[in-house]
Amino acid sequence: MTILEVEKLTKTFGGLTANKEISLQAEANKITAVIGPNGAGKTTFFNMITGVYKPTSGSIKLRGESIGGLKPHAVAKKGISRTFQNIRLFGPITVLENVLVGMHTHLKAGIFGTIFHLPGVDKEERIAEREAYRLLEYVGLEEHYNDEAASLSYGSQRRLEIARALATKPSVLLLDEPAAGMNPKETADLTGLIEKIKQEMDMTIILIEHDMKLVMEISDYIYVLDHGELIAEGLPAQVRHDKKVIEAYLGKGAAEEQEAEG
């Protein structure tokens, strides 16, 4: 079943076309990868889906409902959550509070209820804290729950971003280069975590990643962008041998060489 359907999405910044008529379908409970060289327009694509940029044209549908052009917080509410390429945690507040911020849309406390501690508000808060702690356990950060988010190691910060994104209880999770800057051990752990989220939480995941080993290992389907255009799509095995893809990554010469060898 298709959960997220993107059709002919285009974004231009003045004269520059960052994304040109990109279509994508994310299947339920599958990992869809979006790859491409630097500057291919992958993050722009994510930013349009999550409402940070307004698409110039094209449509985005979540379970058949159009979400194109909605504000980011409204998109989050519809059930799309994301992590960021350059980590965007709330640095000076605690790890647990970061996850609690992710629960924002699910907490009902109003201003008067909060000020006067109406029954229910405190209870709701306890439940949220507990749930946030469970999520930290899930990504393996429960020991640090009272630490400042900025004090975590790089790899842990990436994990915390994932926990925070999960706290919004999304139906689609967008991961923007989750393994960037990680060492091989951390990357392997992360691969396991992403697999676990997919299976245990029935999550639909869309992934931008440069680490080809990770991508080939866990992706169910791959889309390849170059210069803002979709140049190939298919199963990992197909994409791996696609001439255009090799060309985009390694240059024309390499593609011909490989062809001569093969």
């Binding site: 917080h73 960021f84 509070e97 911020v101 629960m103 804290e129 702690y133 994104a165």
Partner: protein
């Protein structure tokens, strides 16, 4: 010496004993000394000591309330400077409330507001206009001035009117960020003052530069509250409510979303936090505290004019927040108290002391060098020193420390968990966009 300090640090009963002794000593000296600013200040210092003791929270509050309600008024009552002390204490309460309001805007939500005094002015004029004959000029019904009994309603009214102005300011202004926001809010503050200054024509609403005089004092059970020692308790009740509210908000859903917006707007939005609505809430709540105190200020002074609400005042309140520690509630309370006392009492006393010295012929101090006139210099120097050596303020903001035993052990949460987990389609905060 170190050994003794360590022992004090570890033993809370010893701390309690010393604190009680200190309070007894300072309040006694305040009673005995006919007029001693030092004793008064030392007694106020006991709040700070109280803050640093390791006593449980409820007992800290109990001792704090006892000082505020009984010990301080009682020991000040004995001397001839009673009203003077209470006046300072009342001013401290007013400024602490305003600083706590600004702290929400600047410290928690990270929106630099240089025109904060405008909301104070709005509150003050809300009461001022209707508690004098001024309202007769433009109101088609009713007779004015309203009696002092209406003061209590006006506290709430001032709160809402100021909140409304906060939202009105926020809607156009929140499109800009950072430095630009500071400039625009500065402009807003000046606009409000100038508007009040000029709204005597064509219809005389604010009485212009002449100001509003003989504003009705608050009245309760037929008693007019004319003196500072009476107003003090009014301020105290409002202040306690504000501290309670701020404390509740700080670690709530709303407080967290303010901090999230402050730290990273894009990430905050991606977590489902509506940006505009969250910022407007900060403006409105911050402004409402200021508005309430504006009403009290108008009633206390019985006279207001636009010169009470200048840019310098806004900066004054900002200095309190910066000095105390942005985002830190105890810090801001301390900062506001220090600045107000310095302004209202210490500098005056120093000037008087220098004057008496020069009349006695011991030193000669040119008039331009008197401490009162150098007030701005002192604040400037203080700010520079703080920026250099303690940039996070007197008491830096601390994160709440969660106790996992508390939220993990709670019974009956399992079932509720799922109901919270279910996505809600019909939530009510769509309005923010």
């Amino acid at each position: 010496m170190k050994k003794i300090l360590d022992q004090i640090r570890g033993n809370k009963w010893l701390q309690l004993g010393l604190l009680v002794g200190y309070i007894a000593l300072t309040s006694l000296s305040l009673i005995l000394a006919q007029r001693s600013v030092a004793a008064f200040l030392l007694l106020l210092l006991s709040f700070l000591l109280l803050y640093y003791t390791k006593l449980p929270n409820w007992s800290k509050w109990a001792i704090g309330l006892a000082i505020m309600f009984f010990i301080l008024p009682f020991s000040a009552m004995q001397g001839p400077a009673y009203q003077e002390y209470m006046d300072v204490a009342t001013l401290v309460g007013i400024y602490v409330s305003m600083a706590l309001g600004l702290n929400i805007v600047v410290g928690m939500a990270g929106l630099l507001d240089l025109g904060f005094v405008a909301f104070f002015a709005v509150g003050a004029y809300t009461y001022g206009i209707f508690a004098t004959a001024q309202a007769n000029n433009f109101m088609p019904f009713g007779t004015y001035p309203l009696s002092g009994n209406s003061f209590w309603i006006f506290i709430i009214l001032g709160c809402f009117v100021a909140a409304l102005f906060g939202v009105l300011l926020g809607i156009p202004v929140l499109r800009v960020k950072g430095d630009y926001l500071a400039i625009v809010t500065l402009g807003f503050g000046e606009i409000i003052r100038i508007v009040f200054n000029n709204m005597d024509q064509p219809v005389n609403i604010t009485n212009g530069a002449l100001g509003l005089s003989s504003i009705a004092p608050p009245k309760i059970f037929g008693i007019e509250l004319l003196y500072s020692n009476q107003i003090y308790f009014v301020v105290l009740f409002i202040l306690l409510f504000i501290i309670f509210a701020v404390r509740s908000l700080e670690h709530s859903k709303l407080g967290r979303s303010w901090k999230a917006v402050r730290e990273n707007e894009i990430a905050a939005q991606a977590m489902g936090i509506p940006l505009v609505k969250t910022k407007l809430m900060a403006f409105a709540i911050g402004a409402s505290f200021s508005g309430m105190m504006g009403v009290v200020f108008a009633a206390k002074q019985a006279f207001i004019d636009p010169t009470s609400f200048t840019l310098l005042q806004s900066i004054n309140i900002l200095v309190m927040v910066l000095l105390g520690g942005m985002g830190s509630v105890p810090g801001v309370i301390l900062g506001a108290a220090v600045v107000t006392i310095l302004n209202a009492q210490v500098l005056n006393e120093l000037t008087m002391w220098f004057n008496s010295l020069s009349t006695a012929g011991i030193i000669t101090l040119p008039d331009a060098m008197s401490p009162v006139k150098m007030q701005r210099f002192f604040f400037g120097a203080l700010l520079i020193l703080f920026a250099l050596y303690r940039s996070k303020g007197l008491i830096p903001a601390k994160n709440v420390v969660y106790d996992k035993r508390k939220f993990l052990s709670e019974k009956g949460t399992k079932k509720r968990l799922q109901s919270v987990a279910a996505p809600k389609e019909d939530e009510h905060d769509h309005t923010g966009s």
